[in-house]
Every structure is written in structure tokens, then in C-alpha cells.
Amino acid sequence: MTLTPLLVETLFPNGVSHYLLGGILIGLGTAVIYLGTGIHAGASTFLESTLSYASKLSRFQQPKFIASRDWRVVFTLGIVAGAAAYSLAVGEFGWTTEVQPSRLFVGGILIGIGTRVGKGCTSGHGVCGIGSGSKTSILNVALFMLVAIGVAQLVFAMGVRP
């Protein structure tokens, strides 16, 4: 017996192949949009640009949101449709989370604030920014990762499941 398979099994109890395949597909989706349009597609600007349809606040009425809001809606619909198509194809459609709605809602509020103040999220900073070798993104991702690990461990230690 060597140590390596045991270590791999401990760190990755569900294997790595579907994670890597998923990551490659996320990268390809981003690359397709980039090669066609030159746009670095991130997922969180959708929140503000979509608010520009409904809110008169000049923060949301900035030209960069007005100009991009249509394709950002299409991008988001594409994400929803792609995930739906896959889950229907493999018979996993209809899965629902056990995470409490209050956690989702409060977490969502903090995510809405944090990604917009911080200029990006897991896709904008984490994929496009890191893929660009941006020091700003590397710092942002390292920070939100460390904070998230701390908070998730704390939640777990307090006995909250899942």
C-alpha cells in the first residue's frame, strides 16, 4: 500500500474528474464569450445591471449597466438553461438544498453587497481575474476564500447542518 491513493481518497472522497470536467466547461463557456465579443463575462454584475430596468437610482443607470444589461440577462438565462439541460439529461433535476432559507437569504444579501463593492465574484475575480493574472483579483479571491472558510467552519462548529 502506498500513501498516495489514501491521501487522494481523504482529500477527494468523491473523486476529481467531474470537478475538473465542470471547471473546464466553465472555462470554455467564458472563453467562447471572450473570443466572440472580447467581454470578460462575470456573473455578479447581472445583479446591478438588471436593477437598472427597475430602479431610477443613478448608481444603476450608469451607461455600463444599461449597455450590458440585455446580454447579461441572456448570459444568466444560458447558465440556468445549461444547468437545467444537464440535470434533466442525467435525471438529477429537482434536487433541492437542505441549507436553511434564512442562511441563503442573509448570505445572499452579503453576497450582493460584497461582490458589487468588491468588483467581482467567483467568476469575475476567480475565473476571469485570476486567468488574467490580476493582482487585484488574486488578493480578492484569497481574502474571500479565507473568510468563507472561517465562517463555514464556525457555522459547522456551532452545530448547524448542513
Binding site: P13, G15, V16, Y19, L20, G22, I24, L25, G27, L28, A31, I33, L35, G36, H40, A43, S44, T45, S58, K64, W71, V74, L77, I79, V80, G82, Y86, E92, F93, W95, V99, R103, G108, I109, L110, I111, I113, G114, T115, V117, G118, G120, C121, T122, G124, G126, V127, G129, I130, G131, S132, G133, T136, F144, V147, A148, A152, Q153, V155, F156
Partner: protein, 161 residues
């Protein structure tokens, strides 16, 4: 800096293939989030709680593909066929907001196990409960816009994000 001004103007003059292509890109992106199971908050929480480190390969795999494509295209003289834009890297300016925002996002991500893209995909896999999270994100995005606007005198423009 110069990328900011071009970002606003050219989306309007796009080809008829612009939106279909964005949809295809989003579609692949959504399949990736479903295949990797990142659309499930439980999987993200398992990563953050150190019981399954697989998510390293999701972000790592995506960033690897993107870095190859971004670096290759941005070092060429080519422009994007559907918009005429130059290929650039995503380089945002560093300031206090990046740190504050990253910290706040981290608390939200660690608490809930969701992030914007994964939440949209989660809706796609039929996880209707995620609408609590998506609703929260819109509330949060509105709140920061409202608070920023009430703090800055009208007429002044925010630096581009």
C-alpha cells in the same frame, strides 16, 4: 483604464450573433456548474469545511482554460469578431473596496455556500429554494447602490467597477 470607455459604447452595435453566442457561452458555463456539483451549496460548504477539496479543480480548471485563451488572444493584434473590441485581460484597479467587498462576500459565501453564478445554475437544476438566496443577492446589490448613492453628492460619477 481605456477599456472602460469602450465597454459601454460597443455593446449596442453588436452583430445578430452577439446574443446567441452569449447564450451558448452561458449554457456551457451552466453545464459546468451542474457537472461539477458546484450548483449545490452542500458541495461548496464541504469544500470550505475541508471534507472535500474537489472545488479546487473547478476554479483551477476554469482559470487554467481562461488564462490560456486570455493570454493568447490579448497578445495578438486581433479584435473580437462580434464587437470589434480589442482582446484585453481583466485587470481591475486595487483599492479599499476590493478588500472590504471581498471580506463581505466571503462571509456570505461561507454562511450559505452559494455565489452568483452557482445560484443561477442551482435554479436550473430545479433547486427552487435557492430563490431565497437570489432574492437576497438583489436586495444586497440594491442596498449597496442605495447607500453609495446617498453618500456621494449627486452628479458625481462612481469609478468604474
Amino acid at each position: 483604464m481605456s477599456t472602460v470607455s469602450t465597454e459601454t459604447a460597443e455593446d449596442h452595435e453588436s452583430s445578430p450573433w452577439f446574443l446567441p453566442l452569449v447564450f451558448v457561452g452561458g449554457f456551457l458555463f451552466g453545464i459546468g456548474l451542474a457537472v461539477s456539483q458546484m450548483a449545490r451549496p452542500e458541495i461548496v460548504l464541504a469544500f470550505l469545511q475541508f471534507s472535500d477539496f474537489g472545488l479546487v479543480f473547478v476554479m483551477g480548471g476554469a482559470a487554467a482554460i481562461v488564462s490560456i485563451v486570455f493570454w493568447t488572444a490579448s497578445s495578438s493584434d486581433l479584435t473580437a469578431p462580434l464587437s470589434g473590441r480589442r482582446y484585453t485581460r481583466r485587470l481591475k484597479s486595487m483599492d479599499r473596496d476590493v478588500v472590504v467587498g471581498g471580506g463581505i462576500f466571503g462571509v456570505g459565501w461561507g454562511l450559505s455556500g452559494i455565489c452568483p453564478g452557482a445560484a443561477y445554475a442551482s435554479l436550473g437544476i430545479g433547486n427552487v429554494v435557492i430563490l431565497y438566496g437570489v432574492a437576497g443577492m438583489f436586495v444586497g446589490a440594491y442596498l449597496q447602490g442605495y447607500l453609495r448613492e446617498s453618500r456621494t453628492p449627486s452628479g458625481s460619477t462612481q469609478p468604474a467597477d
